[in-house]
Symmetry: C2
Subunit: 207 residues, 2 copies
Amino acid sequence: MRKPEIREKILEFIRHSLDERGYAPTVRDILKGCNLSSTSVVQHHLNTLEKEGRIHRDPQVVRSIQLIKKDVVEVPLLGTIAAGKPIPVPGSDTWTTPPDETLKLTTDMIGNKSNTYALKIKGTSMLDALIDDGDIVLMEAVPTAENGQMVAVWLKDEQEVTLKKIYREPGRIRLQPANKQMKPIYVKPQNIEVQGKVVAVLRRLGR
Amino acid sequence: MRKPEIREKILEFIRHSLDERGYAPTVRDILKGCNLSSTSVVQHHLNTLEKEGRIHRDPQVVRSIQLIKKDVVEVPLLGTIAAGKPIPVPGSDTWTTPPDETLKLTTDMIGNKSNTYALKIKGTSMLDALIDDGDIVLMEAVPTAENGQMVAVWLKDEQEVTLKKIYREPGRIRLQPANKQMKPIYVKPQNIEVQGKVVAVLRRLGR
DNA sequence: ATTTATAGTTAACGGATGTTCTATAGAACA
DNA sequence: TGTTCTATAGAACATCCGTTAACTATAAAT
């Protein structure tokens, strides 16, 4: 019988230890904490966990166990977004040079996604999306978007980028402002280009 | 001669170690890393740093050094905010019972403040502040607010709470919506009660 | 039924590590 | 001048800890 439960228990214990005490447990800490009977049992499970990529250890180093799951993510601030300008989409050239600035965020905010980036809003052209000058939007680089999703849309005819909720309707696409008091606009499918999904909006005030 | 520089160097080394490797250095790591010559020198400085409250160690525990400064802050989500309802202000009764939910945020977002709390917006009554239904506002519990600051204001006559930028003018107070296209309202000073300062606005989409 | 992989036990080695003791030197201070 | 505080140096100690080896036990696979 495979016994993953004991390894879950060990992981939980490590998590607890990191959380409560601030540093990782030793093999013998785990031994006692999980009611195991031998250090080599612990060693065995730790080896397995490391093979599974769930923890990382530095050989011979006391208390070097780390959980792989990340709590804090650094999101690159790739540029600004303004009316009449396509938004910077992470391309090969954008990734090669490291971004000038990064934002530290918790996975609470974005869902552990790796393809998330941030853009700073310039100007008040996004007011209908309830987004102010200086706000920061977290974008996820996705090829497609589901109905109802808030997306960054490039309007080819108007040469303009806008943030709207997208709804595909027969023969047309409805772009609905976040502000429900405002009316939607309708565009031809071939007139738009979805440039990314809006994951979150951040507004920092009074600094 | 006092030598705080070497302790700053040690702190920096600890920070670097925690950052790069994920766990704290040993006394001998610091010895080599800071070009010191004896473990007892390191011990001495660590004792001093601990007395100064800048680090914490567990006696006899390897790699237990922790920096006191916090990077991730848990902000209590104290309740909801809606028109016609005073916002929950952290009082004695609110703090005694732990909040149902907390938000993990980095000090990037809020400035290491301890008196910060979060409120969830219910309804669209804050649209003029560019704040949507479901948005989360981070409030700082402060007694006074400076001019131009975005604050939560309780309007006594109207029995309503609103988020506006506050400007004290002779004989009246101007409450300016964040949306610059909208006109300010003017109120008598005795008609308002500042309930807190808005530190940030968070909007999480598509989950 | 036999083999194989996983899990557990016991014991021990050797090195890493926190701590302590003693001694020295310079600066501040009264 | 003597005292005290801080910083430094070297050495030594006892313990903690990661690792390994040899062996047994059990479940799964063939």
